[in-house]
């Protein structure tokens, strides 16, 4: 036989074989596992579910759970969106990040309404605003809350010492009951001329201040852009641009290499810190940063940045079992298990008040009582509605705020650009 014949047959075999494989995969979905249920849960980052999943499998004989984890939420969310749009490929339970929850709420018909699976009785297990965030305007319960970010203000202890400011976390918190006080403290810090800036970049402060105002900072529940009508959003913008006008910012774009280098080199003195930010500081600053950062109360009181939800896509073949798993993982006990495993701050008031959380201290941050600092800020928070285009609007404001602090645009020009760009993102431009 010549090479040509062999090639042709091989090609034919490949095509045929491929079809067989496809057929086999298609059949595989229908089960045939003899009554056993296999659940898949899609997660990102570190959720801390290992222990709790084992427990679920023990309590529900015949059910096995596979966790498919993607490290970066930025890779995870588009993939999830595609699987949801395509109607296949998503897990039976999927994790959704706070900033993206509204994007999926507008596709509520693609998800199970967890109220139908006993979710309605669980309202008291969650912080009110967290519960609201996972519910559509029509009252369908799409996402059950997992963790929250909370909000504190990280500060660099040696830099505060250099500037002659107090270093005790209680006293630092008392320096800035309001954001105006925070800016005044910043001016005082800059006058001391430590060589460092007071803030890294004003962008995370914008997030913190808008979250405190609550309500609908960018879009209403219909998806229309309301940021121009909402005075609170403009006030938040003015507050943080005042910081840059006062010369407090190091103008390091957040998450950039420069910004990380700033954490390592003590280039800035404060940073809004959700609970998960502590992990980022610890891994970025490394051993040298031990005891260098501490957390005080955030100006204006309370706040949240980040946290997730668990949802059950409509495409799941075992919605009942999947809903049970979601409830099991997000119950107060489930959240405590995740806290013990991965230090994710619970969204359940009961879990937040448990000694496991309130008595926990973190050595790296001068034995910071993490739960004691963060729990009150989470309990105080006003519900915020983040619309379906929050990510893009956030990107637009980020660029505008950076252009202001880098001196390329005036605060007014920056605002106009951000509004115009948000209109494009929402489809009104």
């Amino acid at each position: 036989m010549t090479m040509r014949m062999r090639g042709a047959r091989a090609a034919a075999a490949l095509v045929g074989g491929g079809a067989l494989v496809l057929a086999a995969t298609a059949c595989g979905g229908d089960g045939g596992s003899g009554g056993d249920v296999e659940l898949v849960i899609d997660t990102f980052g570190v959720m801390g579910y290992d222990e709790r999943i084992k427990q679920f499998e023990e309590e529900n004989p015949g059910v096995t759970v596979e966790e498919r984890n993607v490290t970066d939420v930025a890779d995870y969310t588009p993939q999830l969106q595609q699987n949801i749009a395509a109607g296949s490929g998503a897990g039976d339970v999927v994790a959704i990040e706070e900033a993206n929850i509204a994007q999926f709420l507008v596709q509520a018909d693609k998800f199970a309404d967890l109220n139908e699976y006993g979710g309605a009785d669980l309202k008291d297990d969650f912080l009110e605003w967290k519960w609201e965030q996972g519910t559509t305007p029509d009252g369908a319960l799409i996402g059950l809350g997992t963790d929250i970010g909370g909000m504190g203000m990280c500060y660099n202890v040696p830099l505060f010492e250099d500037a002659g400011l107090p270093t005790d976390r209680e006293e630092v918190g008392e320096l800035w009951p309001t954001w105006d006080d925070f800016i005044e403290t910043g001016e005082e810090f800059m006058e001391a001329d430590t060589g460092a800036s007071f803030v890294s970049t004003i962008q995370p402060y914008f997030r913190a201040v808008t979250a405190q105002a609550g309500g609908e900072p960018f879009q209403d529940t219909e998806g229309s852009l309301v940021l121009e009508e909402n005075d609170a959003t403009r006030d938040s913008y003015d507050t943080v641009t005042d910081m840059s006008e006062a010369g407090l910012s190091a103008s390091l774009p957040i998450w950039s290499d420069e910004w990380n280098a700033g954490i390592q080199n003590n280039t800035f003195a404060t940073l809004p810190c959700p609970a998960w930010m502590l992990g980022h500081i610890e891994s970025t600053a490394g051993d040298e940063g031990l005891g260098r950062w501490d957390v005080a109360a955030v100006p204006g009181g309370g706040g949240n940045w980040g946290g997730s939800f668990l949802a059950v896509p409509e495409q799941s073949e075992h919605p009942e079992e999947a809903a049970e798993l979601a409830k099991f993982l997000t119950s107060p006990e489930g959240q405590l298990s995740a806290w013990n495993e991965a230090n994710t701050l619970p969204s359940s008031p009961e879990a937040l008040e448990s000694p496991d959380v309130t008595e926990f201290t973190r050595e790296y941050f001068n034995d910071l009582p993490v739960g004691e600092i963060y729990a009150p800020s989470a309990l105080e928070l006003e519900p915020v509605y983040y619309g379906p285009d929050t990510q893009s609007i956030d990107d637009a404001f980020r660029a505008a705020l950076e252009s202001v602090e880098q001196g390329q645009a005036s605060p007014k020009e920056g605002w106009d650009t951000a509004v115009e760009e948000s209109k494009r993102a929402v489809g009104e431009g």
Binding site: G7, P78, Q103, W255, P388, A409, T417
Partner: protein, 335 residues
């Protein structure tokens, strides 16, 4: 089997049947008793070539041609990721584009970076190739080195250049600091950002083009140079009057390829940017047309408008390609 038979001496065929022209023996063979194999081999002969090229055309059809045409369809609609097709709007997306300042800005950035990147890149590549074409010690070492940037992973490229061009801790700004020059905001100042991106492009592509030129130079007959040397022509003169004219087709090829590539410029500015929002700087200082397409379609979910921009870009590439061809034939006919 096939090749064996085709290679068999004519006399063997002759013994079976009278010769009836070149196509007959094959036809006859099919009727041979017990010659199933022969039938298959004739199908093989006719069908195999198509089968072998089929994978390319199937893949091209599925991932090239279909999306290309589908994009036209999408561009005539209001179309979003979540809502899907939201109605036919004719040429509205194209009309909008012509009054869209962001589109013109991105086109200006793309053309600007193209000019400051490609012209020096091709000139340097020519000089490099010319140098290597002469007797240089360790020639293959240098040839290998030139292609290294081209095969370096993009991720590594992103890390290295983001360290180089940082405004606060960047290596270049620190070096400038020693010279007493104020730090440059590489991502904030439009023309500095263009320069940085052009530098990244040239770092990656100069060696690639130099190798193409070198290959072409090696096919230029040596005796032409020898004759010129005997006539007393300087090296410079040889370069301009022999090398360049002899390389003209190759140069035109690289110009066209670079034009097509640079109009779709995406990777370098995207990794130069901070964050993945494809904004190209805080005010779109270096947002290219491709980045705008990506931003509109995949960040904002405006597939209709994104498709329209993509199509206008495609037309521009075709237009520039045609200009290239016309200029080329002018140059040819002039000489």
């Amino acid at each position: 089997m096939t090749s064996l038979q085709r290679g068999a001496p004519p006399s063997a065929r002759h013994a079976d049947a009278p010769a009836k022209g070149p196509s007959r023996p094959q036809h006859r063979r099919r009727k041979d008793p017990g010659s199933r194999g022969r039938f298959l081999s004739s199908v093989d002969l006719k069908a195999s070539p198509y089968l072998f090229i089929a994978p390319f055309f199937l893949l091209f059809g599925a991932f090239g041609l279909f999306p290309l045409l589908y994009t036209v369809w999408v561009s005539f609609h209001e179309w979003s990721l979540i809502g899907g097709n939201e109605g036919f709007i004719g040429l509205d997306n194209y009309v909008r584009l012509f009054s869209d300042a962001k589109f013109w800005n991105s086109l200006y950035n793309t053309l600007g970076i193209f000019v400051i990147a490609v012209i020096p890149q091709l000139l340097v590549a020519l000089l490099l190739a010319d140098t290597l074409n002469r007797a240089v010690r360790g020639k293959s070492f240098f040839q290998m080195t030139m292609i290294l940037p081209y095969i370096t992973s993009i991720a590594a490229l992103a890390i290295v250049f983001s360290q180089l061009f940082g405004s606060e801790f960047g290596l270049i700004n620190q070096a400038l600091g020693y010279l007493g020059i104020d730090p440059i905001n590489w991502r904030g100042e439009k023309y500095f950002s263009w320069g940085a991106i052009a530098f990244m492009i040239d770092w990656r592509w100069t060696g690639y083009n130099a190798l193409i030129y070198l290959a072409a130079m090696q096919s230029v007959p040596k005796d032409v140079y020898e004759a010129a040397s005997l006539d007393g022509a300087s090296r410079m003169r040889q370069f301009f009057q022999i090398t360049i004219p002899m390389l003209r087709p190759t140069i035109i090829f690289t110009v066209i390829i670079s034009t097509i590539g640079q109009m779709q410029l995406f990777t370098e500015p995207a990794i130069f940017d901070t964050g993945g929002a494809m904004q190209g700087g805080t005010q779109g200082q270096f947002q290219t047309v491709m980045m705008l397409v990506f931003q509109e379609a995949f960040r904002y979910g405006n597939y209709g408008y994104g498709s329209a921009i993509a199509w206008v870009l495609f037309m521009l590439v075709v237009l520039l390609g045609l200009i290239n061809v016309v200029m080329t034939s002018r140059i040819r006919s002039a000489t």
